[in-house]
Amino acid sequence: MTSREAMLKEIRTSLKRETGTPPPPPPPVRLVIPKVDRAAKVDSLLSKVAALAGKTLHASSMAEAREYVAGVIAGKSAVASNEPFLKEAGISTLPGVQCGFTEEAALREACAVTDFGISSATYALADTGSLVMISSLNEARLVSLLPPVHIAIVPAERILSGLDELYMLVPKPSDISSSMVLITGPSRTADIEQLLVRGVHGPGEIHVVVVD
């Protein structure tokens, strides 16, 4: 008997279940989606990010977002994701910014030494201040992970009320990507004497720019 068969057999014996018997329906899914208008969602997102020591900007245009990013990265290096609107807005083409990576090895090499990672986010969650990063050709995983600072540009219409709305819109993240990551504030630890230290393995600084 393989371990698989042995384990399943023991489970079924313990539970007094027959092979292949389908279970009764699981408890109904609990998704409660509040009605929140866009302005309130923007405010909530930005205030939650700020409360987590993230830096925030509510930009009225992509041009304003670009100016902000230009100011933050001035004189330093950055890697931008392949998100088309970053290119259209001229953010990926700012001085010092590399982009267009489609090969993992090259991307990893660039991200390991750069100062900033610039990305979009598929969604953002207003009630927790989270960015929802769904991996794709446009959004590589390492851009928001390896550089010491992460800058995310989020169009306001992508802000959801919270987790419940996310799981309503994306009931099975595995259908669309190998990886969906929620990012809520900068990387942190409190492992030594419960003292909060930011930037352990992930970015220690995060900027969230919401664009109307």
Binding site: M7, L125, T128, L182, T184, V197
Partner: protein, 475 residues
């Protein structure tokens, strides 16, 4: 009989520095949780707990079905599922992958399941380097220690201890500033993440309908361990299963809040396969190891089965007045606190851990804060009954059993009870201290009475019992 458990309790109680460290850290975690589950902040908290309980109950009661569904979904996207009965089988799987990939370095993110089977030691035994990347776990690994707490593994160490450990094991100059210590670990880990051929993670949840592994963390080491290396292996206890991705909307809301008081931890990763064609990065191989290691045994008893609902938030430890005194290392296994007290005897056999379920005042604080509503005190009581049954089988602890048999005999015979309790008042050999407390003569200072008096004074038997007073008043 004094056991190792008793000795560890005694030494922890006597260490005032450690006492303060545990009390402060758990106190802070309690405060953090309280703030985020308060009525005005999260009015539906109790409904969420109930929903989380029902999700876990349903999943565990139909575990075979959901594990097979999970397996099908992982396989459908090119992942591999391994079923392992114990730590040896897990090590074998990892070793064969490492051999095939010709890699000697493994980067690990925090996982209680791998702690449970001592995976690092097993792999190191075969010449592999397996490095813990979570800051706390890394410190413990350097110092060859077990986690002190499920979510705060190095809770018992100060910055000075960490400085000593780094100096001793890394040969670095003494550094006592926590930010700089963190930086040291970050720099060491950076290279490891990029050179490791395999990343091993645990799993906070296994999602059946998606074939996905969910990881919850704050540092980013789990993300790095599962993104940078070419191979990702997740090691998970079979009880981690939940039916649907949408159930995460409930589970994630209670997990972070209960653990550290965070509505969501910094990173929540939902990983379901290798890098896909339309993606830039991610691993080339995705393996999930489903670990039994005693879990299927725990399933057999319907009410104790609840122990497997645990999502390892650590809230029961923080709120336990016993854990807060005796700490994590007094417990015999990697799982400490109330959850450790209920799962350890079930995994290892109640006869091998006869005292553990008794090390509780049954105050119920653990059950009150459990995000999946495990009735921990009830399971403790059942394990106590199991322990007494085992004692009966092997005829041990006869004196105590005889005492309770006599007690039951008398307490179910009211006349005898009245006569004997009446005697206690009349022929009480105890005197009284100046403050009215009992003065116990030396010959009585034995057994339980001696234990009681070792720590506190005893209230005297009243000169007149309630029964007598009542009778006199009624005339």
């Amino acid at each position: 009989m004094t056991t190792v458990f008793d000795e560890k309790i005694h030494s922890t109680l006597g260490d005032s520095r450690l006492q303060l460290a545990i009390y402060k850290a758990t106190g802070r975690l309690m405060e953090n949780r309280k703030k985020v589950v308060a009525d005005d902040v999260l009015p539906d908290y109790q409904e969420l707990r109930q929903q989380a309980h029902e999700i876990k109950r349903h999943a565990i009661n139909h575990l075979d079905y959901y594990l097979e569904e999970f397996e099908r979904n992982v396989q459908a996207r090119g992942g591999v599922v391994h079923w392992c009965r114990d730590g040896q089988e897990v090590a074998d799987v990892v070793l064969s992958i490492a051999k095939r990939r010709k890699t000697g370095t493994i980067i690990k993110s925090k996982s209680m399941a791998t702690e449970e089977i001592e995976l690092n030691e097993r792999l190191e035994h075969h010449g592999l380097e397996s490095v813990e990347s979570d800051l706390g776990e890394y410190i413990l690994q350097l110092n060859h220690e077990k986690p002190y707490h499920i979510v705060a593994p190095a809770l018992h160490l100060t910055r000075y201890d960490v400085a000593d450990i780094f100096t001793k094991h890394l040969g670095l100059e003494r550094e006592v500033v926590i930010e700089k210590q963190t930086k040291i670990a970050r720099n060491i880990m950076r290279d490891k993440f990029l050179e490791a051929g395999i990343g091993i993670s645990g799993a906070n949840f296994l999602v059946a309908d998606s074939g996905a592994v969910v990881l919850v963390e704050n540092e980013g080491n789990a993300r790095l361990s599962t993104t940078a290396p070419k191979v990702h292996i997740a090691v998970a206890g079979i009880e981690k299963i939940i039916p649907r991705a949408q159930d995460l909307a409930t589970m994630l809301k209670v997990l972070g809040r209960s653990a550290t008081g965070q509505p969501l931890t910094v990173y929540t990763s939902f990983l379901s396969s290798v890098r896909r064609e339309n993606e830039v990065d991610g691993p080339e191989e995705f393996h999930v190891i489903l670990l039994d290691n005693g879990r299927t045994k725990v399933l057999a008893n319907e009410s104790k089965r609840e122990s497997l609902f645990c999502i390892r938030c650590g809230a029961c430890l923080n709120h336990c007045p016993v854990y807060r005194k005796i700490g994590g290392h007094s417990f015999p296994w990697v799982y400490s606190g109330p959850i450790g007290a209920i799962i350890t005897p079930q995994f290892h056999g109640v006869e091998n851990q006869p005292k553990l379920a008794f090390a509780s005042s049954l105050c119920g604080a653990c059950g009150e804060v459990c995000p999946v509503k495990i009735d921990i005190p009830k399971v403790l009581l059942e394990l106590r009954a199991d322990a007494k049954e085992k004692e009966k089988e092997v005829a041990s602890n006869q004196l105590e059993r005889a005492a309770f048999q006599v007690f039951a005999y008398i307490a179910s015979r009211p006349k005898l009870w009245r006569r004997l309790t009446g005697l206690a008042g009349t022929f009480n050999p105890m005197g009284k201290q100046a403050n009215g407390m009992a003065k116990v003569p030396g010959f009585m200072k034995l057994g339980p009475l001696q234990e009681w008096l070792s720590e506190r004074d005893l209230a005297p038997v009243a000169p007149k019992s309630f029964r007598t007073m009542w009778k006199e008043r009624k005339g």
